[in-house]
Amino acid sequence: MVDLALLIGGPQGGGIESAGQIGVRALVMKGYDIFGVREYHSNIIGAHSYFNIRIRDTVARSPRLPVDAVVALDAESVFTHMDDVREGGIFVYDTSTLKTRVDRIAPMPGPLKERVKAKLSQHGLGDTVADAVKYLESRGAKLLGIDLKAAIKEVAEKSGRSVVSVARAANVVGLSAALAFLGVEKEYVHRAIEAYFAGKTRVIEPNKIAADIAYDYVEESYGLGNLPDGPHKGKVRMVASGNDVVAMGKVVGGLTVQTYYPITPAADEALYMEGHRLVEVREELAEKVGLEKLGVAVIQTEDEISAINMAIGAALAGARSATTTSGPGFALMNEAISMAYIMEAPVVITIWQRAGPSTGMATRTGQQDLLHAMFAGHGDAVKIVVASGDHEEAFYDAIKALNWAEKFQIPVVHLVDKTLAASTKSLDRFDLDSITIDRGKLSYEWSGGEYLRYKLTEDGISPRVPVGFAKQLNSSLEHTEYGYAIEDPEVRNAMVEKRLKKLDAIERGIPEDERVKVYGSSDADITIISWGTVKGPVLDAMEKLEDEGIKVRYVHIKTFIPFPVRTIDEAFKSASRVAVVDYNMLAQTSLAIRMFTGHKAPHVIQKFTGRALQEQEIVRAVKEILENNVERVVVSDGA
């Protein structure tokens, strides 16, 4: 079984993202399943960043520490990750930084410096990179020093370019050394570089040279690794981030308008879509719909209030419409969500959760927006809330969200997070045949006399004709069936009952198996309940714990509104022990569960640091709970 983990660290702007992406591609070419996630500061250039790659022959879906190989592109990375490599693992570092002292690294947070110095001095060491290397040796790491300055000079010479212009290729030097060590063929490294920098010859060439320098050096000095080909060899796959797959899902799902105001980690979704604003129709359908290209209007607005209101306007006019944001932006959308609800406007709001409160840690992750999303908007505003656990889910959920919005004529919140946004996954072909696009009661023609936008119906859902296709009134005030403002108590009651019926329609229309997924069986030693990207680490931890004889069941909540009351209730009743993984301070998931089922989980596993949750954290926490009956376990792995 192949199960490896690789970490590449360096300064923001120093090519950590590209090194990660190239690494992921090379390993996918080698035939493995890959999950990669990037951690970075809210900063453009200089602060520490790293990319964590998981390589498996089964399925890769979470980061893990310690890793099998660390590539430290600068001194800060050496200090920051000196405890992150396993015994016997490789640690690649830059020999030209050996004399650098901890205190001279400007971007490094003070408290971390203090911890590093304390740790080194505990081992009788000083505070230079050389000391850290000694420490690493003492921990049994295999050190692989490369003089990156010299390497870059060589790249410059060989490519006939200036040192400055090729300086960023240091990342590929480090990466390539690690890949050589593992035993990934040079060819894949080259192809990965070509694929990632698609067409940019002036970038590709020096990077290939850089790769070769490191590769050849490792081959000569240490010998190449002997990683066998992975099981996916030969397949056509995709390598995409969570941001990418949500954009893809929306486009495949027939989105025609996306509005956004830039915000981390949502903006990349919109930007990816903007880069694909004209897409080709499937060959077999082009003739049928009479079009070869389809446009997706992606509009940058002046703020999030405009983004949501514009998306609502577009929805009223018949567009399949969405907006994308994060917590702070969503907070600004509350008022309009209430309007979308009473206007019965189908609109999708994607929330890429990041670490709060407030601006908090804008490039870190969390699940802190659950209750805020559920109860967003004043005045009894209802919306559907669906959350995705991984890339596949996110793709299909993006489509579902668009369907539900139009089917139930209601706002739909799609909850995702920064871990998903910034993680890169190898993916197989999506199952297009399983996808249905459902526009509900929409029609572009009206011949039934006066069109009543808010007609009272059996299921609380009115026939929908867009603005522009039948004269009509849309109103944020309580209204008559036509749409006139009215305060008459009986009409009011009828409209409230209409909206309650719609809730029933949603309850009926979204079956239990779309609300929740259960992994493992009820005779497990412990049942874990959670949602979102907690899924990957929990499923991975399940395997590890199973090896140690501990059986885990995982209940993965997919929709919070409507809530999977039945399954959760049964889970509590059948479980010997229940723990909720709550990636937030207030234990919001536990509160939501109790609110809808009355059950309170006796154990909670929490993480606040905003770093992606890791497999070993769950393994440890579960043992802690089973062995010591601890109520609350707080985990905080990851620099």
Partner: protein, 310 residues
């Protein structure tokens, strides 16, 4: 002229106070729509919240009564999705220049083909007469507990600074003059703004009908040479300067009429068409999104930058 303006009257009770300037604006809209023979289904009046913002209930075309300060983004979304509709925003001064000022500015930057009719009574009517953004400092209207300590905005200047390509001022009680300006604004391809001076007899006891009528004059009558239309970029700096000077006239004399019109700037839809060809022919509201429920897009064919051969 196929329709009578009476066809644009809705059956709803018009709930404005007796003598309210909004009645004049309403009638002018009826007449303008009739003279332009606008299709009620394809004509969309979008409003915010306020006395004036109830106007969609009273005009028998498609209406969207949104929330306070947000009619411009909603209208922009409608126009974006379906550029073939005639879209107007009719809303109050508080709505457009107070809470909604960021959107007011943004619409100018986009030059979207939307006509903004501002019912300018210098007060917050529906919330019972607080100071609006166009109420001059130190004025104390009826409902105020102290004189207003914020300066008035000049809506025309703000519109020009924001990039509107049609800027006019009108007066609510002069229905036919107002009607003509509304027609011109609708016909203009781009963001059009009309500041309609609208007496509020209930709360604005300072800027009354009498107050206005002592001050207003029509530019086209008194300065027939005033030419507000920019037909080529070279004319711009000179004509903008003149327009600004005109926009800044306020006090004993208040000019009415078209202050500024720039024909050289493309509207938003034309700009989108440039970066996304086909947009105007198959806009977001109507372009196919599925075929018999099947998706039209194969991600492995379209997002090829993410495809990897293992």
């Amino acid at each position: 002229m196929a329709r009578s303006w009476l066809e644009y009257r809705s059956p709803a009770w018009v709930q404005w106070c007796p003598g309210c300037g909004n009645y004049g604006i309403l009638t002018a809209a009826f007449k303008a729509f009739a003279e332009l023979d606008l299709d009620p289904a394809k004509t969309v009046v979008v409003s915010g919240i306020g006395c004036s913002s109830r106007i969609p209930y009273y005009i028998n075309v498609t209406g969207v009564h949104t929330i306070h300060g947000r009619p411009i983004p909603v209208a922009t979304g409608i126009k974006l999705a379906n550029p073939h509709l005639t879209v107007l925003v009719m809303s109050g001064d508080g709505d457009l220049l107070g809470i909604g000022a960021a959107h007011f500015v943004a619409l100018g930057r986009r030059n979207a083909d939307i006509t903004v009719v501002m019912h300018d009574n210098a007060v917050y009517g529906l919330t019972k007469g607080q100071a609006g953004p166009t109420l001059p400092a130190w004025v104390q209207t009826k409902a105020l507990r102290a004189p207003n300590i914020q300066d008035a905005l000049n809506p025309l200047l703000l519109a020009i600074a924001s990039g509107y390509t049609f800027v006019a001022r009108a007066y609510a009680y002069h229905v036919d003059k107002l009607k003509d300006i509304i027609k011109e604004a609708i016909k203009h391809r781009g963001a059009a703004f009309i500041d309609v001076l609208q007496p509020c007899p209930t709360y604005n006891n300072v800027m009354t009908q009498q107050w206005y009528e002592q001050r207003i004059y029509y530019i086209d009558e008194q300065e027939p040479d005033y030419d507000a239309t920019i037909k080529s970029p070279e004319e711009r700096s000179e004509k903008v300067a003149r327009a600004i000077a005109k926009a800044m006239e306020w006090g004993d004399r208040i000019p009415l009429g078209i202050i500024y019109r720039d024909l050289t700037k493309e509207p938003f839809d034309a700009r989108i068409e440039k970066i996304m060809p086909g947009y105007l022919e198959h806009p977001p509201a109507t372009r196919p999104v599925h075929y018999e429920g099947k998706p039209l897009v194969d991600p492995f064919k379209v997002f090829t930058d993410r495809v990897v051969q293992a």
